[in-house]
């Protein structure tokens, strides 16, 4: 590392030259956000700069009062002489990597990302840099994603089989990103789809942003419980095991998450079915993305930090831990509780 263009402070990642923070968790003057998940998007900052493609989601998270400016993918701006631009991260709608350049030194803050194709957001862009800041939510080789088509076939089959058995299908998926990816990818001809309140509003923002989604109805707006018969309910993981599920009568539960690779994780979550569907890079994708940057130094901010750092160093790269307070919306098997209130 030639200089400390970006460093970790107690408020978040900070660029001193441009006097801005990236995904800060304590209030600052100027915050650049990589995406709208709760652990990267905190309220109370004076000014925000977010990717244009995710502005509707940021608005929901930050509230009507927030001063939000936007920048399109690939568009360059200068902040006190520091050149910055957003590039697609493939994580969720409007998620970005932030490229920061000053005096021939380039940093990329990747935020959360994945390389697996996802029809609900722009694909990950490989950006060369000197210093790459990466996540490691699934930074162990046991995390290896099954092709998405196969996972959706599993979900479709499960939904059909539940229908035959007279059961409602309840799938738990993070309300921003995963929920919409599920709805986009499943076979919408099978039956009707209802959403939990936490999912519905964000789904509307997805539609407004031009993502192709099936017709859905908010569970709370349903008067006759018979309407749920044979349907798919999309709810945040926090609804698992709650009284809210009572209204559906006989039902089967599924959880769409990368953690479902491990049998113990599924049993702990006490769901009937686990579907391995993640919005984060798996082990191989992490390697691919990191190598493609040609970075001299790799910083690992969250997830399996020591494991990925050691692996990279043993494989000819220069990696360091940089422990930020991000957890990834899948950071723990239990999602952050605030998701419920978003």
């Amino acid at each position: 590392m030639k200089s400390e263009l970006i460093k970790l402070t107690d408020k978040g990642l900070y660029c001193k030259k441009g006097d801005f923070y990236i995904d800060p968790w304590l209030p600052v003057k100027k915050a650049l956000l990589t995406h709208a998940h709760a652990d990267h998007t905190y309220r109370g900052n004076q000014n925000y700069l977010v990717p244009e493609e995710g502005k509707l989601l940021s608005r929901i998270r930050l509230g009507d009062e927030a001063k939000i400016e936007t920048s399109k993918y690939g568009e360059t701006q200068f902040i006190d002489g520091v050149k910055i631009s957003f590039h697609p991260a493939g994580h969720v709608l409007g998620s970005a990597q932030l490229r920061v350049e000053y005096k021939d030194e380039i940093w990329v803050v990747s935020g959360d990302y994945k390389l697996t194709p996802d029809a609900t957001c722009a694909p990950f862009e490989f950006v060369k840099c000197h210093n790459f800041i990466t996540e490691a939510t699934f930074g162990l080789p046991i995390y290896r994603w099954t092709p998405t088509e196969i996972i959706f076939e599993e979900i479709n089959q499960w939904w059909r089989r539940n229908q035959e058995r007279g059961k409602v299908s309840v799938i738990f998926a993070y309300s921003l990103g995963k929920a919409q990816r599920v709805m986009n990818g499943i076979d919408r001809r099978i039956g009707r789809i209802f959403t939990h309140g936490a999912v519905e509003r964000l789904t509307d923002a997805y539609r407004e942003s031009g993502v192709d989604l099936p017709e859905t109805k908010y569970v709370g707006a349903v008067e006759n419980k018979k309407d749920f018969s044979g349907s798919l309910i999309v709810a945040p993981p926090s609804a698992a095991g709650s009284m809210w599920l009572k209204r559906f009568g006989a039902h089967s539960t599924g959880f769409a998450s990368g953690w479902m690779v491990v049998r113990g994780a599924r049993r702990r979550k006490a769901v009937d079915r686990g579907f391995v569907l993640s919005d984060h890079a798996d082990w191989e994708e992490l390697q691919t993305a990191i190598r493609a940057t040609n970075a001299e130094t790799v910083f690992v901010t969250h997830g399996f930090i020591p494991e990925l750092v050691r692996w990279l160093n043993e494989n000819g790269m220069n990696a360091k831990p940089l422990k930020a307070q991000y957890v990834g919306e899948e950071g723990e098997i239990e999602e952050p509780e605030r998701e419920l209130y978003s």
């Binding site: 080789p141 491990v262 049998r263 702990r268 494991e307 043993e314």
Partner: protein, 538 residues
Amino acid sequence: MKLFTELYTELDQTNKTNEKVEVLRFYFERATAENAAWALYFLSGRKPRQIVPSKKLREWALALTDIPEWLFDESRDTVGDGAETIALLLPNNSEIDETPLHELIEKRLLPLRGASEEIQREEVINSWNQMNYAQRLIYNKLISGSFRVGVSQQLVTRALSEISELPKDIIAQRLMGAWEPTAGFYEQLVSTELGADETPIARPFPFHLAHQIDFPLGDLGDVGEWQAEWKWDGIRAQVIKRAGQVFIWSRGEDLVTERFPEIAAAAQNLPDGTVLDGEILPWLDDSVLPFNELQRRIGRKTIGAKLLAEVPVILQCYDLLEFESTDIRFFEFKERRRLLSEVLDKLNADTQKIFQITESVEAGSWAELAVKRETSRTLKVEGFMLKRLASPYRVGRHRGDWWKWKIDPYTIDAVLLYAQKGTGKRSVLFTDYTFAVWSGGELVPFAKAYSGLTDKEIRRVDKFIRENTKETFGPVRSVTPRLVFELAFEAIQKSKRHKSGVAVRFPRILRWREDKSIKDADSLETIHALIESQGTAD
């Protein structure tokens, strides 16, 4: 093994009893007898001993990947299972091994035992290359001796009973004892042709079970309408003598005749057409032994002479369900009890030592009974059973006529000292805790406990452990002593095997005492005082 893989995967994916039975039926309706026999062998908890040590499997798997040993170990700690970790790490393969289960076991697995390492390695890698993830998982577990299917014997019995249209107790009876997983065995198992010993004579009655009393005793009415009996901690059982044959059934509807030969032999002296309900207890010199002594006998198929002498058993007789070949469950309890003592009185002296009628504790009032209950610990019982004298013998767990009135468990405030990740569904969180109490200004570990916290509390404790780890010893972490928990347990004994000098039975976390600091925790002296007060020697 395709059908068997589906069976395993589906059983693994549901917690619902009915679905498990449905999945089992689906399998047994389609499997050939020779495959079904092996499946049944595994489903009933039998498994081949380790054929290849997991260390070797790990070594060969690592050679097929670019993963270093330390990264495998980190992965294993997260997964919580070595066989599963290997299955997850091996290079992808979507092919399915079509070899029938029996052929895989008999031709490819069992012959590997004792083979040279080179041959073992070649065959294991060859098998991995033909299998997908789900099959590798099963294969790895089978070969390393850790295969286990999450299904109870009762569900398997029920599924087989449904497809064969045989009564459950016949299936249970046919599954008893030693058998070989052959096609012939399976065909016989589901054959509707009944053997001479398969008449309903073996069939037990459903047990009448009780709830813990959760209201004032006075609500039960007059104490004179009730019988109080000591509540023993053993194995609830029915002993059947019909047509010259003896059957002992445990409450789990397992036929356990062979496990308790002394009771089986004594039961030969019962008149034909007799069914006793009682508790099997380890009993030496007119006194009950701790439950863990009985556990030494439960785990074994055959009981050696040494164990028979060290841990003899008796039956504390509670009730008589069949008398002179007549079902008398509808008789009033006091009448059944009178007939019970009549039957037992006629037995010879040696048999009477095995079949003891349980004591009825007399009391003129509930208050007097409450005083007597205080002596439970000295008598090494769990409190009282209260039975309405006019009650019939009912089916299943029932409120109203029978009540458990157990003594409160011992409680101790202890400090969290070590933590370890759980296994299975808890494998990502620190859920296995070791607790300590004070002794001469030091914290001495004395009990391990797992259950009793809510998921939310578990997550908070997990966070505390991660942030306050002092040292790591393999999977175990020592943590800064700060959290205090109230532990409950059923019994305490002195123990030479434990560092603290005490052993506790069934410890569990009662609650997290966030209001207490570690200096408020109890001491080893307090525990020793509890032992003295119950009058237990070691």
